[in-house]
Structure formats: C-alpha cells, structure tokens
Point group: C2
Chain length 147, copies 2
DNA sequence: TATTAAAATAGAAACGGTTTCTATTTATAA
DNA sequence: TTATAAATAGAAACCGTTTCTATTTTAATA
C-alpha cells in the first residue's frame, strides 16, 4: 500500500472512503506541524470548496480514535491534531515556535512501570509524554537573534 | 513555616492573604485527588458560603502559575487541578478510577535531552509526563471483581 | 447498472466550560 | 485612620465544540 493511499488506509481502518475523509487525510499528511480543526477546515475549504466544520471535528476524532492522528497537548487546551504515520509507540517533540512535530523514539515506560508497581503498588494503563522546545531551525534563528 | 501555613505561603508567593485564597488552599490541601474548578467551588460554597466561580478560576490559575497546584491532563480537556506540596521537579500518577494523584519521583529528562539534541538538533524547554492507571486500592478492587 | 439500507454530511442551533467586564469590597502600607 | 492598589461578586459574553435532523452519499447486492 502506497503511503499516500488514503483510500486503502480508510478501508484498513474500517471507515468508508468518502471525499471528505480523503481530503482531511490529504491536508493533514501535507503538514509537518500541528493544526486546529478550524485551521484544517479553512485549508479544506480553499482546496475542495464545501465542508462543514462539524464534519472536520468528527473525522479528526475518528482518525484519532484509530491512532492515525495524534492529539497535541497545549496550555490553551484547544484541540490540535497531527497526522502521525509512525505506527509504533513513540512520543512527540513539539516546536513551541513553529509548531513542527517530530517523533521521539525514546520511551521510559519500563522504568515508569517499575516505579509505579514497586513504590505505589499501582498498575500503569497508559502514559502521556510530550516534549516542548525549539526545533533545529527555530533554535538557530533564536541564536542568530541574540548575536 | 508550618505546611498548613497558607498565609505564609501566599506571602512567599507575593500574593495578598485573602479569605478566598486561604479557603481555596485549604480545600485543595484536604484532597488527595484532582478536582475541577466547579467541584472546588461547590466545596467552597458549603464551607465558607459565598464565593464566585470566576474567583475560583482566577485563584486556581494564579496558584498554577506559581507552581503550587498542578494541572491534570484529561481526555475531556476539562480543567482539573491538584494541590502539589512537592516542590521539586516530578511527575504524577493518576488513578483513572478514583482520581487519586501520587507523585512519581522518576524523570527521563536526561535521556530526552540527549535524544533531542543529538537526533533532532533541537532544544528542550519543557516536557509533560503523566502516568494514568489504577492506584493500589482500585487495582485490588478490580482484581476482586474478577475473582 | 439499478436498487437499497446504512453510513456520512451540511447547516443551523445549542451547549457549557471558561473568561471578561465593571462596580464594589478588601488588604496592606503609610 | 486613611489612601491606594489589589481582589472579588455577579452578570454577561465568549467561543470552541457538540448535537440535531434532513439530505446526500457510499457500497453491498440483485
């Protein structure tokens, strides 16, 4: 399956292939930064014409439930989504300046598991880890500004 | 300073000692689980009578900004706060069943730092880690239910 | 290809947690 | 005690998100 074969992806997820779902996937896959439903909606409107904002919300939520898009944790608590092709368990590095999202292939789940079961006698069901900072490009820009 | 000396705590934080702030701290410190502003407000009303919900929001936000209370990450994205006496950097274990919050004295910031700087050439500014699961008591209850 | 049932969508409307606004009250310093 | 800046109450607004219903579309089947 081609990595841009959204129709095949939707079938695999058990979702009907609709023009709106295809369009949402296409827009999401074309970004390397996170976006709000409203922003994605604007982008869709200029690309395919008519689409309802509630439809965008619903599709994003479906894709998030299937694990195809990830939610971003934001201080404003607004919804932000990011298309994540990486299927394995991993975490995200978020650039606070340009919104770029990059995968972090590191996870301390083993150590957390040990800490929780030994110290607390509890059981881990899931965990959330997000790293916020400046990406390579933005980090350089900041340094340049200081010089 | 006594650990229940909220007046001293507020002074230390550069906030005026008001009856409302004292009451909020008192309610928060008496819980070992997280709560929403609305829930805290209800608790305050039955304890001190009159207090405005916006006041509760504002005080919680002030205390969060000072690092005295922690925000909880919740799928519903509703605001939840937890009074956190532990001053050092740490993370929280959240019981998804009873809302109890416990400190986790483990953090992989060193490894994350290395991963981000080496692999991405980026700069870490902060990170969010929350562990969701079942606390000791709830874990036992669940096992009992299965037996 | 035509038919059909179930699923998906548009658009309007509602929703509700959170924030803003302004007059009033309160804490603290002088 | 007084003055002043900060804090609060209560009402209202706000706005991101969800719900509702009529209509359209998909995809399975004949």
């Amino acid at each position: 399956m081609n990595e841009d074969d959204f129709s095949g992806l939707l079938k695999k997820l058990g979702l009907k292939t609709t023009s709106k779902r295809m369009a949402v996937l296409s827009v999401l896959a074309g970004m390397d930064s996170y976006a709000s439903p409203e922003e994605i909606w604007q982008s869709l409107k200029s690309r395919i014409g008519t689409i309802g904002l509630p439809t965008v919300y619903r599709i994003l939520e479906e894709l998030a439930a299937k694990g195809v898009v990830a939610r971003i944790i934001h201080p404003s608590r607004q919804l932000y989504y990011y298309y994540c092709g990486n299927a394995g368990h991993h975490h995200h590095f978020i650039c606070v300046s340009c919104r770029r999202v990059q995968d972090i292939n590191f996870c301390a789940s083993k150590e957390i598991e040990v800490e929780v079961s030994r110290r607390l006698n509890g059981r881990v069901l899931s965990h959330v880890l997000q790293i916020d900072g400046l990406c390579r490009a933005c980090s350089r820009k900041k340094k340049g500004a200081n010089a």
